[in-house]
Amino acid sequence: MFSGFMIHAWEVGTIVAIVAGVVGFFVVLRDSAFPAHAIPNGAFAGAAGASLIGVSTLIGLGVFAAAGALAIAALGRRTRNDVATALVLVGILAVGAAFLSQSTSYEPEVFSLLFGQILGVGTNQLLPVAVVGLGSCLIVIALARPLLLSSLTPDIARARGLRTDGLNVVFLLIVAAVTTIAVPVVGTLLMFTLMIGPPAAARGFTKRPVVALSLSALIAVVVLWAAIASAYAMNWPVGFFVGIFSALAYGLSRLWQWRR
């Protein structure tokens, strides 16, 4: 499983996992599970539309993910109980479903968009993935301390002169960027598991921020490697294994905490 097209899968997978782990650390800290769920759903519609008009899916993903991020930022910090955001979410999914119903190769397309597949990683995608992925990582690490402060105590952050609204927009756009590169591998429905499971597990093992951040990326990489290997062996979707192994990592972390 280490030759031919699989090399690209490993390369892309590793980059995606590192970025998802790093960005996910802040997603969990900021209690942003909802945008992490909503932005990939928006991306789904974009990818469906792109494939309908014959444009590269990556572009469709990227444009709609970014639009979703900006829309969420504009709607303000709504809680996930807000009906409006839930309805818009579902509405976008319905639009995506409509797009897909118009193309002739309906089922396989829906499937790989939602649940991912290893073969979704083409040669020409390694460079954009690397650039977007590592770029996102660098930005997040540069903003780490302000993000940390504004997530924990927004009032203190603002009193210190931090622009918490601007930070929020940048952060959501980063989530959109990660979505764009991760969806072909993991699928829109499972993407958020990769961004939530490993960081949630990491924080159970340590109370030091830098250690937790690194562990988050590490666990994400292990989860995705295991998922890719299992998907290759069983010929089952990658997304399934990501969901299961993320849950496993989280479960182990909870067990560890319980025993201490």
Binding site: V28, D31, A33, H37, R80, N81, D82, V83, A84, A86, L87, V88, V90, G91, L93, A94, V95, A97, A98, L100, S101, Q102, Y106, E107, P108, V110, F111, L114, F115, G187, L189, L190, F192, T193, I196, G197, A200, W236, P237, G239, F240, F241, V242, G243, I244, S246, A247, Y250
Partner: protein, 285 residues
């Protein structure tokens, strides 16, 4: 009227069946949905639909009736949410997210296996996005019965449920048990989600559950009028969706129609937007 009611609309048996099923499901969803929104449990509704997906996908794989799959999944989801619900707020969200991830991954596996090992096609589309026209007629009586049962239960518990949702302490003082009522309601909601999944697919069923209810609550305050308005909006959107979907098969020469769920969801979204806009305008002094 031909542009709206394409020829053969009411003569077609699947369409008549869809209208009947759609009516009852939308009605049930509206009634239950009003309480879901009043209790601020929209997110729980969304979580239930994800687990319902797993049930539906599993049923498709093992050749069981979709309704059984959706209902089992939703009820199992309700059980999981109860267990997780004992946690602190932030940890609860993470735990819910992880559990949903596992369930969704399982859905993916079931759907994949359906596509590759069984001879049925379009399973993904059916489970996730629904296909009201192809519900087997054998299932209709069961669905109607379940819907009717839910409505009867709601009629019985409506007042105590409202009291315990709005003020648990007063409810307890009057001898009610908010915890029991809450759990019972969660089961009712799960059942309703299962029904909605049958109509417009599991992923989209949130729209039918909370959309009309939320729209109604924007334009009216009393519980009774909210239920009436929500029912009218929900049934109207569902019927319009059925009609438009049927019509859409004639729009393109390729005879590829748009799914019922697409129209229903979009109509619900528009209705909600209209009601929210009206509300915003009337409260601005």
């Amino acid at each position: 009227m031909h542009w709206l009611f394409a020829p053969g609309l009411l003569a077609s048996a699947p369409v008549r069946q869809a209208l009947l099923l759609g009516f009852l499901i939308a009605l049930t969803a509206a009634v239950v949905g009003v309480f879901v929104v009043v209790r601020g449990q929209s997110f729980a509704g969304h979580a239930l639909t994800d687990v319902a997906t797993t049930g539906g996908a599993g049923a498709a794989l093992y050749g069981l009736t979709p309704l059984v799959g959706f209902l089992t999944g939703a009820v199992a989801g309700a059980g999981a949410m109860e267990l997780i619900g004992r946690e602190r707020a932030q940890r609860r969200d993470v735990a819910t997210g992880v559990v949903l991830g596992g369930a969704t991954g399982l859905s993916g596996l079931f759907l994949y296996l359906s596509a590759t090992t069984t001879s049925s096609t379009g399973v993904t589309q059916r489970v996730l996005f629904g296909s009201l026209f192809s519900v087997s007629s054998a299932m209709v009586p069961a669905a109607l019965l379940i819907g009717a049962l839910v409505l009867v239960v709601m009629a019985i518990v409506a007042r105590p449920l409202l009291l315990s949702s709005v003020s648990p302490d007063i409810a307890t003082a009057r001898g009610l048990s908010p915890l029991t009522l809450g759990l019972a309601f969660l089961l009712v909601a799960a059942t309703t989600v299962g029904l909605c999944a049958l109509a417009i697919g599991s992923i989209l069923s949130t729209a039918l559950l909370i959309g009309p209810a939320a729209a109604a609550l924007k334009v009216t305050r009393s519980l009774r009028s909210a239920i009436i308005v929500a029912s009218v909006l929900g049934v109207a959107a569902t019927w319009a969706g059925i009609v438009l979907s049927y019509d859409s098969y004639t729009w393109r020469s390729s005879h590829q129609g748009l799914p019922v769920s697409f129209f229903v969801v979009v109509l619900i979204l528009l209705t909600y937007g209209l009601c929210a806009w009206r509300r915003a305008r009337s409260t601005r002094v």
